[in-house]
């Protein structure tokens, strides 16, 4: 039997080169979705294979890797991916946002601001922001080529007409470098402003859909909106029950079956750092209300 042997960070060098070329192209055209020959990875499609391939292609032996899912280092899939690279690349891993050189994430952008030299790798399920308006790839590629984004604005307008405001809470579309409309992956729109003028390089990998896109450092990223309905982000109207933070994105924890709730930071590293610095929260049940956060 052919006993399998694997290269540093799992992927063979030819594949890494192919992915790096796609990444370079993506950086050169911010927000443009570059097709790449995504490989079958040893974890299922939809479980971060795009992010894993991007990370595998950029990881060097000296890198320090952090992996989060829903903002947490301890969610099962984050652990699984961190262990994968620990095993196949032998790189140092961390839970600290500041210490990491590469951060792979699913559904969140860390609260702590990123610094120059860091790379944030997003796992992307559906890279095409126009997909649910137009299912055909042949059509959406043409729409991007012509910067024909009217359909998206009509969708946002219809939201306002029907609900009074834009009814998109996550994967809120952005325009990158005043050219391409881009899907930020299913992060809550609370995180959208963090993408704008960010010091770190942001790379997006969609394995199943075979697309890579990027936001180079210090690039303008604008959340789509209207003059009379400006983009607003929301968070639960409560401080974190553990660290008292009133500016972080919160998870709602159901504590009993009698309506008991509490709210804690979704970014576990951020929360732990604050607790270590002596901040405390109170475990009062907060109202289930969101408020605008500026």
């Amino acid at each position: 039997m052919n006993a399998p042997t694997y290269n540093f960070a799992y992927l063979d060098e030819q594949t890494k080169r192919m992915i790096r070329r796609a990444i370079l192209k993506a950086i050169a055209i911010p927000g443009y979705q570059v097709p790449f020959a995504s490989r079958e990875m040893p974890m299922p499609y939809g479980w971060g294979t795009g992010g894993v391939q991007v990370t595998a292609a950029i990881l060097g032996p000296d890198d320090v890797l952090k992996v989060i899912d829903q903002g947490s280092d301890d969610t099962t899939n984050a652990i699984s991916i961190r262990k994968f690279f620990g095993k196949t690349a032998g790189v140092a891993t961390t839970t600290s946002t500041t210490d990491a050189t590469v951060i792979q994430t699913r559904h969140r952008i860390p609260e702590a601001s990123l610094h120059a030299g860091q790379v944030l790798v997003y796992q992307v399920p559906i890279p095409e922001p126009l997909r649910f308006l137009e299912p055909r790839e042949t059509e959406t590629r043409r729409m991007h080529a012509l910067a024909e984004y009217g359909l998206m604005h009509v969708k946002l307008y219809e939201d306002i007409a029907r609900f009074g405001h834009i009814a998109t809470a996550y994967a809120y579309p952005v325009k990158v470098n005043a050219r391409y409309v881009m899907d930020p992956s299913p992060t809550p729109k609370f995180d959208n402003p963090k993408m704008d003028n960010c010091a770190a390089l942001q790379l997006f990998g969609a394995g199943r859909e075979k697309r890579i896109y990027a936001i180079p450092p210090y690039t303008t990223v604008v959340s789509l909106d209207f003059e009379d309905h400006p983009f607003t982000r929301y968070r639960f109207n409560a401080p974190c029950a553990l660290c008292g933070a009133d500016d972080s994105y919160l998870d709602e924890i159901v504590t009993d079956d009698k309506g008991g709730r509490m709210f804690v930071c979704s970014d576990t590293d951020f929360c732990e750092q604050r607790q270590a610095a002596g901040h405390h929260g109170t475990e009062s049940a907060a109202p289930h209300k969101e408020k605008a956060h500026v």
Partner: protein, 367 residues
């Protein structure tokens, strides 16, 4: 006091230990061997090799064992391994006309040169559960005879001699064959990529699509021109020696569907082709593949395109069961961040709805 969830790492390890235990089943019962899987569950192995795109019976058997008999999981295991293998080159096209045939049937002619050969088949068996098979059954030795030296030309080639069927487009032998595992797919796709996609595609998905064409969603009136199963030689052109070197032989099933075509102003009416090919004995798969291949040629043949099976982007984007199962099953992953942002929005919308209704009621009460 609430403490943030920790300890996922141990939970994962324990879950995998439990899985290994469950996979072994009752430890008093002997373990199944790869030879048993390969020999006695051979059609399952054939499917895993076909959809896993890797001709290796032993690895496919291992994958089935590791996957506890879950075929899609086994296909996924083989694919993930295949993705790491280097590409040494592309073989010469195999000549199925020279196949060492073990089974070969045509539904379009009563008899054909080389004969109809039933071979090992479920066809015409009565599907009665056989209690004898439960244990210790020793089947009779099969009948044997000298292998026939008669050629078994492909039925479509016989039709082709009279020009009754469109000629099979001959690929430029110098042009590289597309490989969607190495280059990202774009639409419209050429037929080589379409056939590769279908060959790797999920048997159940193709079966349903093929069936839908028979029931009128993109009908193309098929006949099973020929289905053949047997061994073919695989050869690789070696640059150093300047000729094709045999690598060995593989088992293949090939299905050539013969379909109606009305003709056009420029072309005389003739039969058209749908093609299916798979590793091992995979008849249902190759027949379904051939139906869908033909349906996807609707545009090229100037037919009206409207049915799902005729829609290239729809078929090719959803045929891969490793992709499909990954994305469907990823719903098991935590989604609480986006769920809660949705929850926040929903509560807000409901509150606004309630306030608006209250205002209307107050107004009505006042009137």
């Amino acid at each position: 006091m609430y403490v943030a969830v920790k300890g996922g790492e141990r939970a994962i390890e324990n879950a995998h230990r439990l899985l290994a235990h469950e996979r072994r089943g009752d430890r008093d019962v002997p373990e199944v061997t790869l030879a048993q899987i390969s020999g006695q569950l051979a059609l399952g192995v054939d499917r895993v090799m076909t959809e896993g795109s890797l001709y290796d019976r032993e690895l496919a058997a291992l994958a089935i064992k590791q996957a506890r008999g879950d075929m899609i999981e086994a296909i996924f295991l083989v694919r993930a391994f295949r993705a790491t293998l280097p590409r040494l080159g592309a073989t010469e096209p195999v000549n199925t006309g020279e196949m060492q045939v073990r089974r070969r049937i045509s539904s379009t002619f009563k008899d054909v040169p080389g004969g109809q050969i039933l071979g090992p088949t479920f066809d015409y068996t009565h599907r009665l559960l056989d209690p004898q098979l439960a244990e210790g059954f020793v089947p009779e030795q099969p009948e044997t005879a000298e292998a026939s030296q008669a050629a078994t030309p492909r039925v479509t080639d016989i039709l082709g001699r009279d020009g009754l069927i469109e000629s099979s487009p001959q690929a430029d032998s110098d042009a590289p064959v597309g490989d969607l595992t190495r280059e990202p797919l774009s639409f419209p796709a050429d037929r080589d990529l379409r056939l590769q996609n279908l060959a790797r595609g999920d048997e159940g998905f193709l079966l349903a699509l093929g069936y839908s064409t028979q029931r009128g969603y993109g009908r193309n009136h098929p006949f099973a021109g020929e289905i053949r199963f047997g061994e073919v030689e695989v050869e690789l052109f070696a640059e150093d020696v300047g000729f094709a070197v045999p690598l060995g032989s593989i088992e293949l099933t090939e299905c050539q569907m013969v379909n109606q075509f009305k003709g056009s102003t420029t072309e005389a009416p003739c039969f058209t082709r749908g093609y299916g090919l798979a590793f091992g004995q995979s008849e249902r798969k190759t027949m379904s593949m051939a139906l869908v291949d033909r349906a996807l040629r609707a545009g090229e043949l100037g037919e009206e395109v409207g049915a799902p099976a005729q829609d290239e982007e729809f078929v090719m984007s959803h045929s891969d069961n490793v992709q499909s199962t990954g994305f469907v099953e990823h719903l098991k992953l935590p989604h609480y961040v986006d769920f809660q942002s949705e929850l926040g929005l929903l509560r807000k919308l409901r509150q606004e709805f309630a306030e608006a209704n209250q205002a209307v009621e107050l107004q009505e009460a006042a009137e």
